[in-house]
Symmetry: C2
DNA sequence: TTGTAAGCGTTATCAG
DNA sequence: CTGATAACGCTTACAA
């Protein structure tokens, strides 16, 4: 398959490559008749300019690298779905990279994306949510940022200031704990999340302080960490149920954990919300699919992605952008509480 | 930010760019001492070769374009999750494009990916599932295939032979209908899916024939088309419930429709599976998250993606590959039937 | 309005 | 083992 180039088009049209390039990019006036002629030849051969060559000289690729930790958690597809829509309008394409929360995979992808000359980077999960991120991993990102604009979603890195977009998870947690309290609950547990993760800590603090503000005592035995998966919720719920003095309501770190918790409870014949109330976080599509429907906090996932893309785009055009954009969380009261 | 190139490295090391390139690619012997020296300088400047320039001469980018119709249907993230894992091992990166099932968006992306010189293409949804695909859209793909290897997942285009990977949806449907019959159901409905889609037709046929094979009569009024969403399931279920003579079991086109159907039924106080049995298709994570858990058919989504990537890779290396790879569906019997 | 030619940052061929 | 130098396919001054 001999590839066809601007030279081929130029030759056939009896013009120079410069002229072909001009009609391709509409970058300078070209006599209408020759434009027509060139266009016809392009059509005829279905000629497509090589974007690599083009980007090489333009020094921009129109590609945005997106790092996310886990495509099996619907939250992330929702976020980059929003980002993609925005990107499309702005003329960018997303380069999605699933890091599986693995630092070394993150580094590889970061490297790959830089070599591929992406115009910008959106970072989610992994190191930017680590409570104790190794300095070398921080440095890596800092170095990249000197060449490529970066926007972080729901996370950051210590010691430097980055552009970020986030939902107010602290407020979101506060809202939902208060909701449980308003529903009459005095014994509220906290389930799931890795203690090595900043979001877990942030939510935990909000949980603690909201209890205090309501003169409720914080009980260590009602707080159990783990991971962010359904199976974590299932397991940890077992331990709750085994307790003689168990909480009447449980706040889970996210929807997946909440669903796991629900499953275990339900399988024991425990009613939700009558016997125990369960709340999630993120408002993924699972929340409204469940039965009973899950009370949760919406992070406005599409908005998050959209906003990140918008800010990144401005950053690329070297416009001023607020360092931190905070979105308001939305309490979604449904049946599980 | 002046970018640093092989020339800079070469100058600082007192060698030619050729030598730098050699150590970069390990493509020819280089004296150990000079290799060391060059490596050191590369490290020092954190030099990263420009992949665009590289690809321009190599004529390969290591990128695989992936078209899929809908990131909000977990089935697709599952498929490309599997593909990504395989791609990583093979040294490829995926370029994921959400087409929202929109033909023109598909065309745009197809164009984009070609210009970006992807090494191969994986196609899902959209036109390759259309019962009546406009000839021009078929031609588009045919033209591309002459330059770029393509693998289609669960679909094809009329009039040409393409490489494809699919699960046997016919068999899958047969299995689940038979399962319902074996459970004692004689009145089985069929819910959801666009009649303009090949998979819908294929499943419908399997449904019909399996009924016949069991001497059950096919009733038009028990078949309702729509879309592939939860809300479709909710709406169509309403119409079923309004019928005086309604089926005792319902096969839904996919898990989302099934969940919608379940929700409507449950909200009416109808018990599942006692009053009505409901089955889905795809075995997305939703199926096992639900309560009651949804009986469904696994398409082995990750496998699908993995296999497509594997076949595509061989195609790219110009190795022989079976035209059609068929994966076996798995009946997942759970609580909803 | 159009053409010439110099890049863009690599790799690869061919001498040395 | 190493160095010139010509591609790769396109854009963009600079001239004409």
């Amino acid at each position: 398959m001999e590839t066809i180039t601007v030279y081929d088009i130029a030759r056939e049209a009896n013009v120079s490559v410069a002229t072909v390039s001009r009609v391709l990019n509409d970058t300078a006036p070209v006599r209408e008749s020759t434009r027509q002629k060139i266009m016809a030849i392009i059509e005829k051969h279905k000629f497509q300019p090589n974007a690599l060559a083009r980007s090489l000289v333009n020094k921009k690729t129109g590609m945005i690298g997106v790092l996310f930790p886990d495509s099996s958690n619907m939250f992330f597809p929702e976020v980059f779905g929003g980002a993609e829509l925005a990107a499309q309008k702005l003329g960018y394409t997303l380069f999605l990279c699933n890091t599986f929360s693995d630092y070394s995979r993150e580094s590889e992808y970061l490297n790959l994306l830089c070599e591929r000359q992406v115009d910008g980077l959106i970072l989610m999960g992994g190191r930017i949510n680590a409570r104790h991120c190794p300095a070398s991993l921080v440095q890596e990102v800092v170095d990249i940022q000197r060449k490529i604009p970066i926007v972080m979603i729901n996370g950051t890195l210590p010691g430097y200031s980055f552009h970020r977009v986030k939902t107010d998870e602290y407020l979101g947690t506060k809202l939902i704990v208060q909701h449980l309290i308003d529903r009459g609950h005095r014994h509220i547990g906290f389930l799931g999340g890795s203690a090595a993760t900043t979001t877990t800590v942030e939510k935990l603090q909000a949980y603690q302080r909201t209890l205090e503000a309501n003169h409720l005592t914080y009980r260590k035995e009602w707080v159990h960490f783990g991971s962010f998966s359904k199976s974590c919720g299932q397991q940890l719920m077992e331990t709750f149920l085994a307790m003689s003095n168990r909480p009447t309501a449980i706040l889970c770190i996210n929807d997946y954990v909440a669903i796991g918790a629900m499953k275990t409870a339900l399988s024991r014949g425990i009613r939700i919300p009558e016997d125990i109330a369960i709340a999630g976080f993120d408002d993924t599509q699972l929340a409204s699919a469940m039965n009973p429907e899950l009370t949760t906090v919406s992070q406005q996932s599409e908005q998050l992605g959209r906003q990140a893309m918008l800010n990144l785009s401005k950053l690329i055009q070297k416009e001023k952008v607020k360092k931190v954009t905070v979105l308001a969380p939305n309490l979604m009261i449904r049946q599980s509480t």
